[in-house]
Symmetry: C7
Subunit: 76 residues, 7 copies
């Protein structure tokens, strides 16, 4: 069974909409994954910020520190 | 007595369903372990997210940061 | 598809107004991005500090530790 | 007086039942110590999870991140 | 456009009064910036400590760990 | 004035009873200091665990992670 | 203007009484600074521990982990 590396999976999401759950509060960002590095610092575009499931603000481009991230998942 | 390394155990779970207990809240993910690296960054597929034991959402593919993980255990 | 690095995005914001959401409380700084380094230590100028959405103080120049930062986004 | 290293003590517990107190909540795992590495990532087998002293679940094999561990002690 | 490095900005504050917001509680120190290193460990002199905006104590010289610092800003 | 290094002081406590205050809750361990390493991972023997000043359990041998330790002091 | 390094300041406090504010609770230690290393692990002697400003216990010699320290200041 051939296995991929975690970063391959992130690469496959580049240019696509992703949900990023943050470590702080019940906060998540939904945006287009533009770039990431080995510290999982991430750049999103056309980003929406949700708090407790409610749209809180539209942020445009966001540079997000890896330490702020719980998980990244493709947006449905 | 021959002893295995912790990562050998994770390797044996690749392709199988695992429960991952997170450090944040009473939150756990159940999914198929697709990949992991030395920082214990993990990729799950067909993932379900539980909060306080209740199914909260179906996430599909998830890239999970190692720092977010308390433990990983095979799903029963 | 050509992809940029996260730090390229930060570079493009130099000299411009940015919003920085902090890890502590509901606290954010808005200021002109003057400089940053690989630890994402940041210098802002003409900085305003907001707490729960209310302007709390005008800080002028601020040296902000990377560990204090959740995300950085261009100010609208 | 001849002194041992901390990891020698862990080695002596391999194959035996240990109690692991976690950093999160009043949570502890009791299981058979199968493996550990230099980051104190640990593998337990036939693991029971206790919350506030009450048996919460039987987990079988568990890969536990070192950062999640407060202390490890032989089970009585 | 010529950009400075974050540490250049700190250097320019040496010998001057600065406000340092701490990560712990609503706590800040105001003092004369005497020295700092690459971990942003800082030495202040003639330091005043404020809690929730009220002067709590006069500390004289203070060695402050970088991990305790949210941001550093020139005192008005 | 001749100064010792912090680890010299720990060495001098080997084989003696020490109090270890933990970072989690009002929790302390009292035991015989058997071993420690450069990460201040510690092994205690004949260990007693106290919570809010009350004896909670007798643990025998304990492997304690350095990150769990606030301070170590000789027991009176 | 000649500037000193932060550790020079700590060196100048060796053998003298210092106040150390801890990251945990409103807790501080007052003792004679005996030794420290590059991680700011510190040894105090004739140490008194204060909680919310009240003397809680006399500890004698204390090995204090750097991560537990907010700041160090000469005792008045």
């Amino acid at each position: 069974m051939e296995m991929t590396k975690p970063f391959d999976t992130l690469n496959a999401s580049k240019g696509k909409r992703v949900v990023i759950e943050l470590t702080k509060e019940k906060r998540r960002l939904i945006g287009t994954l533009k770039a990431f590095d080995q510290h999982i610092n991430v750049v999103l575009e056309e980003t929406e910020e949700y708090l407790d499931g409610e749209l809180k603000s539209k942020l445009g481009s966001v540079f997000l520190r890896g330490a702020a991230i719980l998980y990244i998942s493709p947006a449905n």
